[in-house]
């Protein structure tokens, strides 16, 4: 008995020994930043010195039109780009699932390929492709689709479209792969029965496929939402520092610029990131609640 207790203690010590390195790193690079930001939130930096200002940073935020617009852009991208992308990914997955087996592999490979590119590369590529006198405008002018070039990179409206185009190109195939896995796990007999009952393919899509894939769709929605709240690389490179005149400024980019480019106020920047954490948390909570509810129903 005593022997056994000693062995348990040995196993337990071995356990802590193995998690120790990752715990040290976790404390340094996750826990410490989170805890110390509590201090940052109450301070204002001027040059090298910082002073206590209580909730002053949050008052400033309430009057900061650019920050509010930036969060608004995050919401805009989230509510337009994410649903469009998920629909596209779903459509492609369903079509791919019904296509001839021999072509399925190569097509899936092709559509997934954008997911291997880095966000910096995507931003660079789209910035070159979408110049006013660049490739896409030239093609559309030649095809008489437009009469004057579109300001993909310098018009307040079109730059937002540009960001969403780049995001959709980069992430659709990625989400499609999730949906394909889900589709392959569905029972074919449901569709055969629907076929016999005379349900059209479109009807089958909306009344069978989509409801059965809800958990995976929600998972995609959660991850895409959190990604969109952190949007940084694209507005910084593709539309050049959130331009034109902040038309594509996002929360993360604004925080970065407040801390490192414009006036190095780490206190204000940290306070704004608190708000972003809060928003992401609320969205994650709502979506996970939906996800959990769905599981229970099944």
């Amino acid at each position: 008995m005593a022997q056994r207790g000693r062995h348990e203690r040995y196993l337990n010590r071995f356990g802590w020994f193995c998690v120790a390195p990752s715990m040290v790193l976790f404390c340094l690079f996750m826990l410490y930043p989170i805890v110390s930001s509590l201090y940052y939130v109450t301070r204002k930096w001027k040059g090298m010195t910082d002073t206590f200002i209580g909730l002053g940073n949050f008052v400033r935020m309430a009057n900061d039109k650019i920050f509010q617009a930036a969060v608004g852009h995050n919401f805009l991208f989230m509510f337009i780009q994410v649903p469009v992308m998920i629909f596209l990914a779903l459509l492609l997955a369903v079509f791919l699932n019904q296509s001839i087996r021999r072509f399925r592999g190569p097509l899936r490979l092709a559509i997934f390929l954008p997911s291997i590119t880095s966000l910096v590369v995507v931003s660079v590529l789209f910035r070159v492709l979408l110049q006013t006198n660049g490739f896409l405008n030239n093609v559309m002018l030649d095809a008489h689709l437009i009469t004057t070039p579109i300001g993909w990179l310098n018009d307040a409206f079109w730059t937002k479209v540009t960001i969403m185009l780049a995001m959709t190109w980069r992430w659709t195939g990625y989400n499609m792969v999730f949906f394909l896995v889900g589709l392959q796990s569905l029972d074919r007999q449901i569709f055969e029965a629907a076929e016999v009952d005379g349900a059209s393919k479109a009807r089958q899509f909306f009344t069978i496929t989509v409801p059965l894939l809800v958990p995976i769709i929600l998972f995609s929605a959660v991850t895409s939402t959190s990604g969109t709240m952190q949007l940084f690389d694209e507005p910084n490179i593709l539309t050049w520092q959130g331009g034109p005149s902040n038309a594509t400024m996002t929360a993360a980019l604004y925080i970065f610029r407040q801390a490192f480019v414009v006036n190095s106020d780490f206190g204000y920047a940290t306070s704004m990131s608190y708000v972003v954490v809060l928003i992401s948390g609320v969205f994650a909570f709502i979506q996970l609640r939906l996800l959990g509810g769905e599981r229970v129903k099944k």
């Binding site: 940052y40 559509i111 490739f135 030239n138 490192f260 972003v276």
Partner: protein
């Protein structure tokens, strides 16, 4: 009759959508490969036939932008993070799964909670931390915070669950130490999930942008993404050389994807930006 017609119209739409999707997905890859051979003006105009300036662009990328240095910097950072990251996270995941205790389960719960915290929220205090230790503008600053990954621990733990605990018991009876059970018995049979974890860490570090943008200050320390980003902010952009750097930074990931598709997709599945 009408059923057959509707059916075939549906088939045609289906194939058109699929082919359009594939074409749109692949086109930028062709375009950037082809761009390597063009002069800057033709890159912008989007000429689709190969040009003759590949050698010139290559030389510019190497001489004006020091491509080999940026490549080696990126490679060094990514590989070192993979080596440390795989070992440290796998050990932790193994213990969390196979040596359960109430205290460790609680720790694991705290780890999972931090998954929802966006990176932007922790980089500012982290910047101050690295400034305090005089580690700004070093590669260590990029490697250290990326080694421990809650997602990888979570992912590996899921995989260790599949490993039968009875085999560990048997080895224990035979007198094997706990560490050698892990190194000699568990790890070799889980090569696929180690590969997925390695690919995930490699790609994240190869592409990381925000944190190096804050900490890297000199040309000598720049990585490929930072180099591309500063090229884009230059007054005149050397588009031909830019396409070379774009291709060079995409190629390793492409090769990895094509050779290890299964592990690649498994690793990427959790890569939530």
């Amino acid at each position: 009759m009408s059923v057959v017609r509707r059916f075939s119209v549906g088939r045609v739409t289906m194939w058109l959508v699929l082919l359009a999707g594939a074409a749109v997905s692949i086109f930028p890859f062709y375009w950037m490969l082809n761009g390597m051979t063009l002069n800057p003006n033709d890159v912008l105009k989007g000429v689709l036939v190969p040009g003759r300036e590949l050698a010139l662009n290559w030389e510019k990328a190497n001489r004006n932008y020091n491509l080999p240095l940026f490549f080696m910097n990126s490679l060094k950072i990514a590989l070192l993070t993979v080596v440390f990251g795989v070992v440290i996270n796998a050990l932790a995941a193994f213990v969390f799964e196979k040596y359960r205790s109430r205290a460790r389960e609680r720790v694991f719960g705290v780890l999972l909670l931090t998954l929802i915290i966006p990176q932007i929220a922790i980089v500012i205090p982290m910047f101050k931390l690295f400034a305090y230790f005089k580690l700004l503008n070093t590669h260590a600053a990029i490697i250290l915070p990326a080694v421990m990954s809650v997602f990888i621990i979570f992912f590996m733990r899921q995989n260790f669950r599949l490993f039968p605990t009875e085999i560990m018991e048997a080895a224990r009876v035979d007198g094997a130490s706990e560490l050698s059970i892990f190194v000699r018995i568990v790890a070799p049979s889980m090569r696929a999930s180690f590969a997925s974890a390695a690919i995930y860490i490699f790609i994240n570090q190869w592409n990381v942008y925000l944190w190096p943008l804050m900490t890297i200050l000199t040309d000598a320390k720049k990585t490929l993404p930072i180099a591309m980003s500063s090229m884009m902010s230059a007054y005149t952009i050397e588009y031909g050389a830019l396409m070379i750097i774009v291709c060079v930074s995409t190629l390793p990931v492409l090769v990895m994807f094509l050779t290890m598709q299964k592990q690649f997709v498994a690793g990427l599945m959790g890569s939530v930006k």
